[in-house]
């Protein structure tokens, strides 16, 4: 569907999907309600892959969606979404999404959802919260795209509150509340500048900053993106901006691989 107008008259969507993996890395619990689904495709890689899906086809005002991943101590997994999430124009109210990630001691999760596409007049409030036990390792990748440049879409108005919080043993260690409004879109060179696609990759793990050198070497070779990295105290943060989704996602994929990780099979680069 080319835009969200045909969704506006529909009933508001509700969905919740929760996946728990036990100590053996096998599925322990799977909860699915409404428009939210989760599945574990058979993979040949070393870690299980969890794929979430919002079957409502996109988000609009009043929608409620939640995804959750719960990893037992020591378990490694990769989790993603089947498609880009689309936030369509809201006829009233905001769409609310929560993502809860829980990592037991020594667990490893790569949370690599596909990009979120914001359409004109969309209103989305998303809260991604990760709780890490001692020694747990999390990679978080979030990409937000304002319209689809290739389709000639221009976003003049949006309200995005995209709260990303990582806590270790209950204490906040990484907090990035991305806030985009009509004012941000017009706020000039310190904000988006000419870019319409932005991403953050955050690796929160003991020694995460050790990957800074190789990641910086990689970033210096990337075309069509502005990107930089910083690392300190168990954190490696990479920020990327581009004119459109494709070069951004291609660069994100390269960064993920440069840290020795696998890409979700559903990512189409």
């Amino acid at each position: 569907m080319a835009d969200g107008s045909d969704l506006l008259g529909l009933e508001r969507a509700r969905g919740a999907a929760r996946v728990a993996l036990g100590p053996d890395g096998k599925l322990l619990r799977l909860g699915q309600q409404g428009s939210a689904k989760a599945f574990l495709p058979r993979v040949h890689g070393p870690v299980p892959e969890v794929v979430f899906l919002n079957t409502s086809g996109g988000l609009t005002g009043g929608d409620r969606l939640s995804f959750a991943v719960d990893l037992a101590p020591g378990v490694s997994a990769l989790a993603t979404t089947q498609t880009a999430e689309r936030a369509y124009a809201s006829a009233g109210g905001e769409a609310r999404v929560t993502v809860d990630l829980s990592l037991g001691a020594g667990a490893t999760l790569d949370w690599l959802p596909q990009e979120t596409i914001l359409f004109d007049r969309s209103a989305l409030s998303r809260r991604t919260t990760a709780d890490l036990g001692p020694g747990a390792r999390l990679m978080l990748a979030e990409a937000v795209v304002l319209g689809r440049a290739a389709m000639g879409e221009r976003v003049a108005q949006t309200t995005l509150c995209d709260w990303r919080e990582v806590r270790r043993e209950g204490r906040p260690v990484f907090l990035e509340p991305l806030r985009l409004t009509r004012a941000t879109l017009g706020a000039g060179p310190a904000c988006l500048g000419p870019h319409r696609a932005v991403a953050t990759l955050a690796l929160v793990a003991d020694g995460a900053e050790d990957a800074l050198g190789p990641v910086r070497d990689l970033l210096s070779t990337l075309a069509e993106v502005e990107a930089a990295a910083s690392g300190w105290d168990g954190r490696l943060i990479v920020r990327l901006m581009a004119a459109d989704a494709f070069p951004l996602k291609r660069a994100m994929a390269a960064v993920v691989m440069a840290t020795g990780r696998a890409l979700p099979r559903v990512w189409q680069i």
Binding site: E165, P172, A190, E226, R239, M241
Partner: protein
Amino acid sequence: MADATALLTLAQWLSPAFPVGGYAYSHGLEWAIAEGRVKDAEGLRAWLEGVLAEGSGRTDAILLVQALTVDPAEISELARALAPSRERLLETMEQGAAFSATTNALTGADWPAMPLPVAVGAAARSLEATPEEIAALYLQAFAGNLVQAGVRFLPLGQTEGQKVLAALRPLILRLAAEAAGASPSDLGSGALASDLAAMQHETMDVRIFRT
């Protein structure tokens, strides 16, 4: 309204002469100037407007107001987690530590090293001034410091620099008023190019500023 003692105290604490070393930090502006992203008075005003309204200015004002009433240790933790890069953390921690050390010596308080806006909020608890007034003075000091960085490295005279700062006054007043009524859940930033600039600064070959 702030009483005269509070006004003079805040003017002292937030003066460029107060020994927090603000002149050493450009908040990524040095990179933006080196790259030609900020070239003149108009460019500097636009850059600072974004940093204030959509980035660290707004965030710091909210953190400062919270530290006036909420346990500063809790707000410090939030402020540290919000640091978008290593140098941004350094900038706020070093200045905050120096600010607490100096105000402790002046007031007899015993605040630990905390991020700058939290340190200012904690110290200002004893003053007869409104949260809005304290936040406005803080934001003006923050903007004034970056204007000075611009004056030093752009073809920009002192008077032009002061005009840029004066032009930011309505924005500063609006942000201070909003911060006074905000809660931690209102925190949020969209000054992404500024955050990226702060990261790019870390790898500049020749640099005058620490950030």
